[in-house]
């Protein structure tokens, strides 16, 4: 009872605080979205799918999905059916929140009508469901491998209390109901337990302690809930409508960021997903630990964790509740204060202007280090008869994405403005990019109305489809590595595969597309040095070469130069492959 009041008021306060922390226009957006029928329906659907049935978990692993949905859905139904029961039998007392929970204790006699039996059956059925889920959860603690997880999180002390009280609630409830089943009625589970209990504990004196134990476990669980990972239950319900309202992280600790941090149930899926996880020393730097440290306000660790991450976005892609590990980290980085703040206002863009053709090719910094790609690209453009101008043949200004990843938004914005000036002045209508890192920021942050922004894989696919490039299909086996920024970052998965299939046979890596493994060279990480990245690159290579391809193909200059260092077979950019194979 105390637990219930405590938790409800705590959640309410937290909810109001998070909503108040949103910037004004976001708040408006949120409230409008709450009453828009379309998002309303989506909210309800998402809450049911994600919170109760855990659809995403089912897709990942059946047992894991069953474990979660049985506990969540079973409990939910126990509460709902319990309430219906109370409403039917003692309508005048239904207002009391705690009454249904202990219904079986208060109501000593109910007639065994058909309806009663049906409810009893339902209650027992869902209780059994929850119990099976709890049993699986216990089993998971011992053997996480069965659930498709190699590693699981290290729970903190309070988490453990929460965990054990959660585990205790339902077996105790079963026991308690078992004791009272002959007075208040029960169904297949409680009734039969009642007989068993009666055979050696004949009187009802044990009934009271059992109910007491049950309510204690429940009370403890509810009281520790706000301080443990179980806070995700209420937080997730808030996170879903926030996300559906299209709200973005604007403050490192408040608003959406806070909702995300608290919505994390520490499931630990992000540990196995994280490319840094190949080294044991980095396990504590995964998103689940970031969330925990943010809850604890441990600034030193927050800084360490957020600076190390590669920002590959994989944890975001697989997270069942939608915690955006990469964006959260960028937000933390943006809190840093620097004594030297770069200022590019002195850069004179006039000396960087290029004469305008319709197609403008921007190779980017990383391509400048892998001239094979820009050469191949130029050769392809010539072969297809495209007249183009090369924006940064003699060097240019960085796109700003690496600066943005370091959380220095103001500096990044200045670079964006400078580049925008150059591009607008050239009169081009298509901006062709060969680096996915550039591609992403050009798509997300540049305001280039009327100019088409396109990555070279998409452009080559188009040229081939239009018949402007004709291909000679060979017998080479290619595997495509989805670069983080192109795949998860921009959602381009099909075009590179299409292009490669014109050139030869395409095989797939074990983990591909949304789950592709970062090459380890990412500019996202600020602190990881070369020596630390080696094992990540090797791990990514092992994943790519499982189907024994002849050539590893990628579409990012940074992936290319990272892989080349340790690969046992050729690594090439798609542009190089097509250039070699086209007639």
């Amino acid at each position: 009872m105390i637990g219930m009041i405590f938790i409800l008021s705590y959640c309410l306060v937290a909810l109001v605080r998070i909503i108040m922390q949103l910037p004004g226009n976001d708040r408006k957006k949120f409230f409008i979205s709450l009453v828009t029928p379309k998002t309303m329906a989506k909210n309800i659907r998402d809450i049911f799918c994600d919170c109760l049935f855990h659809v995403k978990l089912w897709k990942r692993n059946k047992l894991l999905g069953y474990m979660h949905s049985s506990i969540a859905f079973g409990w939910f139904m126990l509460i709902v059916v319990g309430h219906i029961e109370v409403l039917l039998y003692t309508p005048h007392r239904a207002k009391l929140l705690y009454f249904p929970i202990f219904f079986r204790y208060f109501v000593a006699e109910t007639e065994e009508t058909m309806r009663g039996a049906f409810f009893f059956f339902l209650m027992d059925f869902f209780l059994l469901m929850v119990l099976s889920g709890i049993f699986l959860a216990m089993f998971k603690r011992i053997q996480s491998g069965v659930f498709g997880m190699r590693r699981t999180t290290n729970p903190s002390f309070l988490d453990l209390i929460g965990l054990y009280s959660l585990w205790a609630i339902f077996p105790l409830r079963l026991l308690a109901e078992g004791f009272t089943a002959d007075i208040s009625g029960g169904s297949f589970l409680t009734k039969s337990l009642n007989y068993v209990l009666h055979s050696f504990l004949s009187d009802h004196a044990n009934m009271l302690p059992a109910w007491w134990a049950y309510s204690c476990a429940l009370g403890i669980f509810l009281i520790v809930l706000p301080f443990t990972r179980y806070m995700h239950i209420p937080a997730e319900i808030l996170l879903i409508p926030l996300r559906n309202a299209g709200i973005k992280i604007r403050n490192a600790r408040k608003g959406l960021a806070k909702a995300e941090v608290y919505a994390c149930p520490s499931c630990g899926l992000c540990i196995d997903a994280c490319p840094m996880g190949v080294m044991k020393t980095h396990i504590k730097d995964t998103t689940v630990y970031l969330n925990r440290q943010i809850r604890r306000n441990n600034e030193r660790r927050i800084e360490e964790i957020s600076d190390k991450c590669l920002l590959c976005g994989k944890c975001t892609a697989i997270c069942p509740v939608g915690v955006e590990g990469d964006k959260l980290r960028i937000a933390q980085r943006s809190l840093r204060k620097y004594a030297i703040n770069q200022d590019y206002s002195g850069i004179d863009t006039d000396q960087l202007h290029v004469k305008g053709e319709k197609v403008m090719y921007f190779a980017g910094c990383m391509t400048a280090l892998t001239p094979a790609i820009s050469k191949a690209m130029e050769s392809l453009l010539r072969k297809a008869g495209v007249s183009y101008s090369f924006m940064d043949r003699d060097g240019g200004i960085c796109c700003g994405r690496p600066m943005l990843m370091a959380g220095r938004f103001d500096q990044a914005r200045q670079m964006v403005e400078k580049n925008t000036e150059i591009i607008k002045a050239s009169g081009a209508d298509t901006l062709l990019l060969s680096c996915p890192i550039c591609y992403r920021i050009f798509r997300e942050k540049y305001r280039l109305e009327g100019i088409r922004i396109i990555h070279h894989t998409e452009y080559i696919a188009e040229l081939i489809r239009q018949g402007r490039l004709s291909m000679d299909k060979g017998y080479t086996k290619y595997v495509f590595h989805d670069p983080c920024e192109l795949g998860r970052g921009c959602g381009v998965y099909e075009e590179p595969r299409e292009v490669l299939s014109y050139a030869g046979e395409l095989v797939e890596a074990t983990k591909n597309r949304k789950e592709s493994i970062c090459c380890g060279g990412s500019l996202g990480s600020l602190t990881l040095g070369f020596d630390k990245r080696k094992s990540m690159t090797e791990n990514a290579l092992a994943n790519l070469t499982e189907a024994s391809p002849d050539v590893i193909a990628t579409a990012c200059p940074l992936c290319r130069s990272t892989f080349v260092r340790y690969a046992d077979r050729p690594v090439e950019d798609i542009a190089e492959i097509i250039d070699r194979n086209c007639i």
Binding site: A339, I340, Q342, D343, I347, G395, G400, M403, A406, F530
Partner: protein
């Protein structure tokens, strides 16, 4: 003063006893690899900011070792954090982190 048509350039000798190496030491604590630099200049050759502010990681490191902080600040003012210098460094120095650390630790006199 009489104009002779030429002048003697000021001495560029650095008295290491007086040089303020505190920034270098602090940066070295965070990024110990700084002492691995062989001043090869690969980073300078590839730097896109070189043409705007004379940025060169090699020079920054040398200047820090000689306590010439102001030069470092001027050079850093146009670094774009693009990461090319890190990619080409033959000693595997995480120059981006080095640059960020300098930006963070720098103190105006």
């Amino acid at each position: 003063m009489i104009d002779f048509g030429f002048k003697i350039s000021p001495s560029s000798a650095i008295n290491m006893d007086n040089a303020d190496l505190s920034l270098y030491e602090k940066v070295r604590e965070i990024e110990p690899d700084i002492s691995k630099c062989i001043a090869c200049g690969s980073c300078s050759a590839t730097c896109p900011a070189g043409r705007f502010s004379g940025m060169s990681v090699r020079k920054c490191i040398l200047d820090l070792q000689r306590g010439k902080k102001n030069e470092v600040k001027k050079m850093l003012s146009c670094c774009m954090l693009c990461g090319k210098c890190t990619m080409v460094c033959p000693r595997g120095i995480n120059t981006r982190h080095l640059i960020l650390s300098i930006c963070k630790l720098y103190k105006e006199d």
